[in-house]
C-alpha cells in the first residue's frame, strides 16, 4: 500500500515536471541516457536487471553466480544491480544469449521514458548530478590551482574576523584593556619615580642639616663670605652639588630657614647662598619658559636679596602671567629702598585690589616712600595704576603731592575722581573745594555721594547752596541723609533753617538722628 502511494506521488511529480521542466537533462536520445547511466555509480531508488528470454523449455540458466538468475516460464532474470558503471562489463558475457536490460524505479519496472522522467525529477531537486558536472569542478580546481599562486582563503574561516560587530566589540574591549594596562603601568612608573624623588629629598635633607647648622653657628659672616671653593667642597661634596635636585633642596632649605630666622643668621644664609653658587640656578629659573620656574626664581631673588638680578626681575613686571608680574613687582619693591614704582607706569594689565594691597604692604614695610616716584604713576595710561597712585598719596599721607593730584582733577575718570575726593578728604585739602563742588553736580550717583560727604569737611558757602539744591531735588534717602549730615557739619544755622523751612517728617527724623551722638554712625 505504502509502495503504491509512493509510486502515485512519483507519478504526479513526473507528470508535473514533464510539463514544467521538459528537456531539463541534456540527453538527445535514449542512447545518450544509457550512456549517462553507465557513468553513474549509484542513482537513488534506481536499479537494473538483465533479462534473457528462454529459447526452449530446456534452456538452462547461465552458470554465473554473479547474476543470481531467477527462472520464470519465459525467461531468466538476474538480481538487481545499482552500479551503472558495471553495465558494460556485466553485459559483455551475456551478448550471445540475446540479453536485454530492464530498468526499475522503486523496484517497479519502467521503460526508458519513465526512467528519463524520474531522472529529470531527481535532477531538478538536486538529488541527481550528471557525471559530467561531478567531474568538472575537480578539473576546474586543478586548473585554478595550477594557474594561480597559492593564497590562503581566510574569509569566513575565522568567525571573529568575519563578523564585523564582534570584531568591533573585541577591538573596543582590547583598547580598554590596553588603556587600563598602560595607565596602571604609567601610574606605577610615576609613583616609583615620585617615591624615589621623595626618598632622595629626605636623604639630601639629612645631608644638608648637619653642615648647614655647623656653618651657621661655627662661622661668622665674614668667614662665610671668604670661604674658598675647597672649604665649600669639604662641607658639601662636589658629587652632590652636581645633582640639580640636591641644589633645589638646598635652596628650599636655605629660603625656608631664612623666613624663620632673624638677626645675623639671615645675613649668613644670604651670603652662603651666593658663596654656594646657587645664584646660577636662580638665573636659570628666571630664563625658563615655565611660569612656575620663573616664580620660583623671583621668590629666590626676593628672599635672598639678589640685587644683581634686578634687571631680569624688571623684565617680568609686565608679564602676561598675573602671578609672575605680581611677584616681580613685589620683588622689585622689596629688593631695594631706592627702587621706585616707575615700573608700574607702562604696565598694560590692570592692577587688582590684591596687587595694590600687596604693594602697599611692602612699601609700608620698607618704609621709604620718598623714593617711590608716585607722580610718574599719575601720568600712566593705565587707569588702575593712576588710581593706585592716588590711593598711595592718601595711605602714605603725602600732603606734598596734592598739587600733583590737582593737575589731573579735570582729566580724570569718575572712578579716579572718587579716589581723588577720598584723598582730599583724608588729607584735609580745603583748596580743592571747587573740584568737590563740581563733583556734587555730577550725574554719577556714586561720585555725587562721595563729593557730598567730603563737602561736609571741605565745603564752603557755595557747597551749602548745592547741598540744599540736591535736598530739594532728590528723593534718594541715603543721598538726602548725606546732604543733611554735610550741611549740619558745614553750617548748623543753615541746617536748622533748612529743616524748619522744609517740615517733612523724613527731614525731622534725619535731623534727630544726625544730632543724636549715639545714632551718628548708624
Amino acid at each position: 500500500m505504502k509502495r503504491k502511494l509512493l509510486l502515485f506521488i512519483f507519478f504526479l511529480a513526473t507528470l508535473s515536471l514533464s510539463f514544467g521542466q521538459e528537456g531539463l537533462l541534456p540527453f538527445r536520445d535514449s542512447a545518450a541516457l544509457i550512456q549517462e547511466l553507465k557513468l553513474q555509480e549509484e542513482i537513488p531508488s534506481f536499479s537494473y536487471k538483465f533479462f534473457i528470454p528462454k529459447v526452449s523449455k530446456n534452456s538452462k540458466i547461465p552458470g554465473d553466480s554473479t547474476f543470481l538468475w531467477v527462472e520464470t516460464d519465459t525467461a531468466f532474470i538476474s538480481k538487481a544491480f545499482k552500479n551503472g558503471t558495471l553495465i558494460d562489463s556485466l553485459y559483455e558475457p551475456l551478448k550471445g544469449d540475446s540479453a536485454s536490460i530492464l530498468f526499475f524505479v522503486y523496484e517497479e519496472k519502467t521503460n526508458i521514458n519513465g526512467l528519463r522522467s524520474y531522472l529529470e525529477t531527481m535532477y531538478a531537486t538536486g538529488d541527481f548530478v550528471l557525471a559530467e558536472d561531478k567531474e568538472q569542478p575537480e578539473n576546474d580546481i586543478l586548473l585554478v590551482a595550477s594557474s594561480n599562486n597559492y593564497q590562503p582563503l581566510d574569509a569566513y574561516k575565522n568567525r571573529l574576523l568575519g563578523d564585523f560587530k564582534l570584531l568591533a566589540v573585541t577591538l573596543i574591549i582590547l583598547f580598554f584593556i590596553f588603556s587600563a594596562a598602560s595607565m596602571i603601568i604609567f601610574m606605577l612608573i610615576f609613583k616609583t619615580q615620585r617615591n624615589q624623588r621623595e626618598e632622595n629629598i629626605k636623604n639630601y635633607e639629612q645631608e644638608i642639616i648637619g653642615p648647614l647648622t655647623n656653618l651657621l653657628f661655627e662661622k661668622d659672616l665674614e668667614e662665610i663670605s671668604q670661604m674658598s671653593n675647597e672649604e665649600i667642597s669639604d662641607i658639601f661634596p662636589k658629587s652632590l652639588f652636581k645633582k640639580r635636585l640636591f641644589k633645589q633642596v638646598l635652596i628650599e632649605r636655605i629660603i625656608g630657614l631664612n623666613k624663620k630666622m632673624k638677626g645675623e643668621f639671615k645675613d649668613k644664609l644670604k651670603t652662603l647662598y651666593k658663596r654656594l653658587g646657587l645664584v646660577e640656578l636662580t638665573k636659570a629659573n628666571l630664563k625658563d619658559s615655565r611660569w612656575d620656574k620663573i616664580s620660583a626664581g623671583l621668590v629666590q631673588v626676593n628672599e635672598m636679596d639678589l640685587g644683581e638680578l634686578i634687571n631680569e626681575v624688571k623684565s617680568f613686571t609686565n608679564s602676561k602671567n598675573f602671578y609672575v608680574r605680581s611677584l616681580a613687582g613685589a620683588t622689585l619693591l622689596n629688593l631695594s629702598e631706592k627702587v621706585d614704582l616707575s615700573f608700574l607706569k607702562d604696565q598694560d594689565y590692570p592692577l587688582s585690589d590684591w596687587q595694590q594691597m600687596n604693594y602697599l604692604r611692602i612699601i609700608k614695610f620698607v618704609g621709604s616712600s620718598k623714593f617711590l616716584n608716585i607722580p610718574i604713576l599719575l601720568k600712566s595710561k593705565n587707569q588702575s595704576v593712576r588710581e593706585f597712585a592716588i590711593k598711595l598719596v592718601r595711605m602714605l599721607g603725602r600732603v606734598d603731592l596734592i598739587a600733583e593730584l590737582h593737575m589731573i582733577n579735570e582729566a580724570s575718570t569718575d572712578d579716579e575722581k572718587i579716589e581723588l575726593i577720598n584723598t582730599y578728604d583724608a588729607l584735609g585739602a580745603h583748596m580743592e573745594v571747587e573740584f568737590i563742588n563740581n563733583c556734587m553736580l555730577s550725574t554719577n550717583p556714586d561720585l555725587k555721594k562721595i563729593a557730598v560727604k567730603a563737602a561736609g569737611n571741605l565745603g564752603n558757602s557755595y557747597s551749602e547752596v548745592i547741598l540744599m539744591d540736591i535736598l530739594v531735588q532728590t528723593i534718594d534717602f541715603r543721598l538726602r541723609r548725606a546732604c543733611l549730615t554735610s550741611l549740619s557739619k558745614l553750617n548748623t544755622e543753615t541746617f536748622e533753617k533748612f529743616v524748619s523751612t522744609q517740615p517733612l517728617p523724613e527731614n525731622q527724623a534725619l535731623k534727630a538722628q544726625i544730632q543724636d551722638p549715639l545714632l551718628s554712625n548708624v
Binding site: 635633607e205 644638608i208 642639616i209 648637619g210 648647614l212 647648622t213 655647623n214 651657621l216 653657628f217 632649605r253 625656608g256 630657614l257 623666613k259 624663620k260 630666622m261 632673624k262 638677626g263 645675623e264 643668621f265 639671615k266
Partner: protein
Amino acid sequence: MKKILIIEDDLLISSLVQFRLKKDGYETILVKDGNEGIHAIDTIDPDLIITDVMMPFRSGIEIIHHAKKTKPEIPIIVLSSLGEEEEVVLEAFNLGVADFIPKPFNPNELAIRVRRVLT
C-alpha cells in the same frame, strides 16, 4: 644635665635649636609631631619643653594642655610663627607657658630665654 624636649615638625629648625642648646650644655630630645610629643612627655621627664603650635596630629596648644595636666611643674616655651595672632599667644599664656617666641627668631635669643626659664 638639664633635659629639654623639643617638639618641632621642621627638621632644620629643630636641629638648629638642638645644636644651639647642646652648645650650652643641655641634653635635648627631638620629636617631630604632636603625638610623639605627648608620648615623650609621658615617658621621659624633661626639665623644659619647647614646642611649635602648628604640627601634624596634635597642635602645640593640645600639648600644652596635656603637659599642664600631667606634669604642671615642667616649664614650656612656645616657638611659633603664629606670634602675630593675638588669640594664640593669649591662649598659650593663659595655659601657663613660661615664654612665647615668635618666628622668625634668633637661636641665640632663644638660648638666653631658655637659660632664664631654667634658673
